[in-house]
Symmetry: C2
Subunit: 362 residues, 2 copies
């Protein structure tokens, strides 16, 4: 009954918010801000969520992750501080994580069952709701650059497979040999997993030093790692952007694609509400349309960014045993980074210039 009371009080707040928000107001605010220059830049990034436990880390590994997160974060933040766009900031941050072997995206992508690499990425511009995404690409060095080219240089949103690669090549985007992605440790990791005939969702990032006892204990769902990188940003003009990139699941088969390239599921941005990038068990994130759901709860239910993001991750997804997390920024510069796994590689610079870099739960 106490909970019901609390619920009713909360509802009164929602009602007041809803009442004072004309139905179409937020929609009409979905436009590019180029004049106003009074927003303080904000950026948040993630490098995947999962069973990331302190007892399985070394001080060196921890330092390597923290340094790379810091590098990616500051690359994006510097762009924002100099008056660059949110889009440029998220692309720059993700490119650094894609180029690092630490994260499951770009260079660090995990292997499919066929011992190939198949990467997915997406980006969305909150100022005009334009979006670009690619899936199942094998030779594009930085999938995030290709996703942005789809958004800006084609009339399409989503290109897959060979076609996406042809498009990227035509745009002059760097194509590399599949060997560029080949990593002996990742390959050993795959073969170990294949032996155990289990498809696992793997962020890992530990490049083959995977602890199979952790990955394959009885509570397998709780011990999966989710490898994705993502970034969300608010620029000085009040424009929001979101982007996500991944190598997908270790040992994946049949051209499996997760939520990372799905607009609304893994990535969403709208100047009227928020920018969101997800990481987690992709199938659940698709079915729950997670990234857009944060926006919808804000726009239609009047929830704050934090309330919306936390309810989705810690209540809605939790009830489905759906593991993962997300990073989100709203148009006021608020940041939320909830996750329901033991850890999530994450970092942010808030509107006051305060930096946070974290790996584990607080």
């Amino acid at each position: 009954m106490k909970s019901k009371k609390k619920h009713q009080i909360l509802n009164v707040f929602y009602i007041l918010i809803v009442y004072f928000t004309p139905f179409n107001q937020v929609i009409s605010q979905t436009k590019k801000n180029t004049m106003a220059n009074n927003y303080k830049p904000v950026i948040a990034i993630h490098g995947g969520a999962g069973t990331i436990l302190k007892q399985h880390m070394t001080a060196e590994k921890e330092k390597a992750y923290q340094e790379k997160l810091n590098e990616a974060l500051m690359a994006g933040y510097t762009i924002l501080e100099k008056g660059g766009s949110a889009l440029d900031a998220v692309e720059a941050a993700i490119k650094i994580m894609e180029d690092s072997p630490l994260f499951n995206a770009g260079k660090g992508s995990v292997f499919t069952n066929a011992e190939t690499i198949e990467m997915d990425a997406s980006v969305m511009d909150g100022s005009n709701l334009k979006a670009g995404a690619i899936a199942g690409v094998k030779t594009i060095k930085n999938p995030i650059i290709a996703a942005r080219a789809v958004m800006e240089k084609s009339e399409h949103v989503f290109l897959i497979g060979d076609g996406a690669e042809q498009f990227a090549a035509k745009q002059g985007i760097e194509i590399v040999s599949p060997d560029y992605f080949k990593d002996e440790n990742r390959l050993q990791q795959l073969r170990k997993i294949k032996e155990q005939e289990k498809t696992i969702l793997d962020h890992d990032g530990e490049k083959g030093e995977i602890n199979s006892e952790i990955e394959f204990n009885t509570e397998i769902d709780k011990d999966k790692k989710y490898g994705t990188v993502g970034a969300v940003a608010l620029d000085k003009y009040g424009n929001l952007a979101a982007a996500t990139s991944t190598g997908g699941m270790t040992n994946k088969r049949y051209g499996r694609v997760g939520d990372a390239p799905i607009i609304g599921a893994g990535t969403y941005a709208n100047n009227a509400t928020c920018a969101v990038s997800c990481t987690g068990h992709g199938e659940y994130f698709i079915r729950n349309v997670v990234a857009y759901d944060v926006s919808a709860l804000m726009e239609y239910k009047g929830l704050s960014l934090q309330k919306a993001a936390e309810w989705i991750v810690n209540d809605k997804l939790e009830k489905q045993d759906a593991r993962g997390g997300l990073i989100a920024i709203d148009r006021k510069g608020n940041i939320s980074m909830p996750f329901n796994t033991p850890g999530m590689y994450r970092a942010c610079m808030d509107a006051n210039g305060n930096k946070t870099i974290k790996i584990y739960k607080d």
Copy 2:
């Protein structure tokens, strides 16, 4: 000012609805109904929206469309009446449209720029939020059957390209030679379009008898046709399901994928709210997360199915010059079939057993 007043009155209604709807109530209703048997079956289908004008139709063509729509509708409805599931009903209805050369899906799929066929499909079960989707497949006779197999026989939601075909073959789903889809008229249609070097969104269904003056006049956006088939159903147990299938855009390149296989964009179903299948300019439907948006407006804003669906199609999408339509059913059996194009092939059987089969605007 009058509009503002009306808006405020509407808001009061929303507030009352929101107030009397505990935040998590609808979520908790998202479960399979197997006991109750007091729902009246409802089904709605579409065969694509676009510039479908009476003056460009012959009586024979009109009759052919009406008969095929009727056949698909009644196949689904018969299943529902006999106590079959909403999932079986939408699959059966779509299979009939996929097997017909009249619609841009399955057998009637349009050609890509490379003179190949690339099909996409998806399905969602509102009773458990499970979903299945495939994209870029070339040899699966009925993509909707493969999408359902992904949902029911894999741990994944979304498979693309060769991998999706391998999975389908392994499941014993009928694989055909690409020649099965080859249609001389469709091929001529493609070549005519290629000559004009324009990528058009084509529902057509007229199998090459495309009127190029209509397709390529100065207001090209307004004259595109959107080829997709879809179905939504409510079964006797109160379970909702939605499914969509398409051959995509005539002359498409680079592995372009539209909204049809994207859960949340082209297809969405949730027993707590509604089942939705879209047809239209896919890029806009992805960016607006249209199918889930209907559900979110109902769940979070307290709108009726009709209000939600009509506002999205005739206001939100209209303002973006985004053309198309959708079909939707809610858990009470209400039906909504809005579109902002001159026509949409559509049919439904309501809870009272009234049949509607229409092509043009009323």
